[in-house]
């Protein structure tokens, strides 16, 4: 078996791991980063949607959080993690939520009141987070008009883009400032940094209260090579699901570990008379925040393949939309839930079992969001609105909304998804076993730097907050190490 030694080992190259690596390299530390997925940053070509799903998303984006109904969640699996495939929205958590985090977290609450904004400033500058208003965007305009007609509050959505010329919803021309374009690009220039892609951490080996080594498996073509990596310090950045799962697999388990939250999201398809051409425009640069902190509306990413998926939900009722794709716009209703899910490890099974049961209040908020957004869309002139509810007939006028079945009858039919997962190692649930800033009480040389250490659901896109908190965790760990 091949053996490697390093000073700092980071497991995972997503926003958490990349932001932590910047801090460690800045302090002249030697860093080895391992990533389960492949490195696509050198590709001069763009993968088509089906290849992207298979190669850059974990489990082909088919991961279910079991419940009634189940929620499909998706995570990135490539160098740069989710930042390589998401829309690059960079948002700060609202002050109201930061204040509540400060009160809820008994161990590092002070950070959320002031210092987090210094980290946000740094990240926004590094990723060139900005609002782009360089050409008229109908998809975005529609959402602004909905808000205007109802006097609803809106929030701007800065995006990590630089010199984007393609105007596609997710940016295909290389303008998106993902981790491989920013932190990891800089890291690769540093001789103290090494990245091993296609390398999956299997197990952490512990001795007394110290992590000694990690057993990993590297895929080379069709073969797998076992590697033992020894380190002085370990940073876990494998993501909200995999960080606690790796800890459980390695025998490090405690009460509350693996309880997590996500943002349940439901999509709405609306047809207008106007040509919107949402597939050829950037993602809407605003979100409707009138019903925050619990409910939020915004524009969804659209592509022909995603439209296809939407139509498949009820082809009999939606087939007439297939040749009207240019007139369709897609929106989402996202909630900040009260419920918590659970990540479990079953004996002899090498995949996490994820379950999530929404509370009554969460379903009410989802339903309220659907109705309010649909009302707004009809006021704007939508000809029909189709929520992601199994076998739904669709709404063809505002009057149809009043005939909607009560939420307790249709909640099982909600087709929910989420790309925002967090808090599986939140001090809120694991107070007795977690120290401050992502450190674990039982293991001296380990800290966590990813979304799993967020206190609870932020109610907004978590990417910037994951990076801010991970940066803070690495900084704090270094302070402890350096005495």
């Amino acid at each position: 078996m091949k053996k490697i030694e390093t000073e700092f080992l980071i497991i995972g190259s997503g926003p958490g791991g990349a932001a932590a690596s910047e801090r460690l390299l800045n302090s002249k530390k030697e860093v080895l980063m391992i990533e389960e997925g492949s490195d696509f940053s050198c590709n001069s070509f763009k993968l088509n949607p089906t290849d992207e799903m298979l190669n850059m998303w974990k489990d082909a984006a088919l991961s279910p959080a079991f419940g009634i109904p189940s929620i499909t969640y998706a995570e990135g699996k490539c160098v740069g993690g989710g930042t390589e495939i998401n829309s690059g929205i960079i948002q700060r958590v609202p002050e109201e939520v930061l204040n509540s985090w400060s009160k809820l977290s008994k161990i590092d609450g002070e950070y959320y009141l002031k210092a987090i904004h210094e980290d946000y400033d740094f990240i926004e500058k590094k990723l060139n987070a900005s609002i782009l208003q360089d050409r008229r965007n109908m998809h975005s305009e529609m959402l602004k008009k909905v808000a205007g007609l109802n006097s609803w509050k809106i929030d701007s959505l800065p995006r990590a883009l630089k010199g984007c010329t393609c105007y596609e919803p997710l940016c295909n021309c290389g303008g998106r400032q993902s981790m491989t374009k920013t932190f990891l690009e800089d890291a690769k220039k540093d001789n103290a940094f090494k990245l091993e892609s296609n390398t999956k951490a299997i197990k952490i080996n512990f001795k007394k209260n110290k992590a000694l080594s990690v057993l990993a498996e590297k895929k080379i073509n069709n073969t797998k090579e076992k590697i033992e990596i020894h380190f002085k310090h370990l940073c876990l950045s494998a993501g909200t699901i995999n960080t606690p799962f790796l800890m459980m697999k390695s025998g490090l388990n405690f009460k509350g570990l693996g309880n997590f939250q996500l943002h349940p999201t439901i999509r709405v398809l609306a047809r207008f008379k106007e040509n919107i051409e949402a597939m050829k425009e950037r993602l809407p640069d605003v979100a409707i925040t009138e019903f925050m902190p619990h409910i939020r509306f915004g524009g969804s990413v659209v592509s022909p393949a995603i439209f296809g998926m939407n139509l498949s939900e009820s082809w009999e009722k939606r087939s007439h939309l297939a040749n009207k794709l240019n007139n369709l716009a897609s929106y989402y209703v996202m909630i900040k839930p009260l419920s918590w899910g659970k990540i479990s490890k079953f004996a002899f099974i090498n995949s996490p079992f994820v379950s999530y049961r929404l509370k009554k209040e969460d379903f009410s908020n989802l339903n309220k969001g659907l109705i309010e957004l649909s009302k707004g869309l009809f006021e704007l002139g939508a000809l029909e609105v189709h929520p992601s509810i199994k076998n739904h007939e669709g709404w063809f006028s505002r009057k149809d909304l009043d005939k909607n079945e009560p939420v307790n009858k249709i909640r099982k039919k909600f087709n929910l998804m989420s790309i925002h997962l967090f808090s599986s190692c939140s001090p809120l649930n694991n107070f007795e076993n977690l120290l401050d800033f992502g450190r674990v009480k039982k293991v001296k040389n380990l800290f966590i730097a990813d979304g799993s250490t967020l206190i609870n659901a932020p109610g907004v896109n978590p990417q910037a907050t994951i990076m801010a908190v991970s940066r803070r965790n690495a900084e704090s760990y270094l302070e402890k190490v350096n005495g």
Binding site: L54, A60, F353, K390
Partner: protein, 121 residues
Amino acid sequence: MIEYIVEKLLPNELINSNQDKEEILFKVTSYVKNSIDTSGFFVKFPEKSLRVVTYIFFKFFMLIEIISLKKIKFKDCLNRFLKMSSFFGDGIRLYKSLAFFALFEDIELIKKNISNEKNRN
């Protein structure tokens, strides 16, 4: 088996009017298969038995359709099948959404098929 299931689930108007039907079915089926193979244990494992059960049921429904001289339609049987349990309902929805995702990737093809179908009618 997957190819047969996918073919039965895809709407006729999207694939039948196209000359490259076999090529399209191959592309869509490959994507459905690869996605399931890449997915985690808790999707991959139950899907194995779902695939076999669905295949047997679909063959049975086809037989019923033939014996009843199309008085009982495959589509009606399928709708009853979906309501039998959430295992079948969720499973069929998974096949369908993956197949549509791959099919709609080539949007020009969809547009062509729909306009061919309209002309035919």
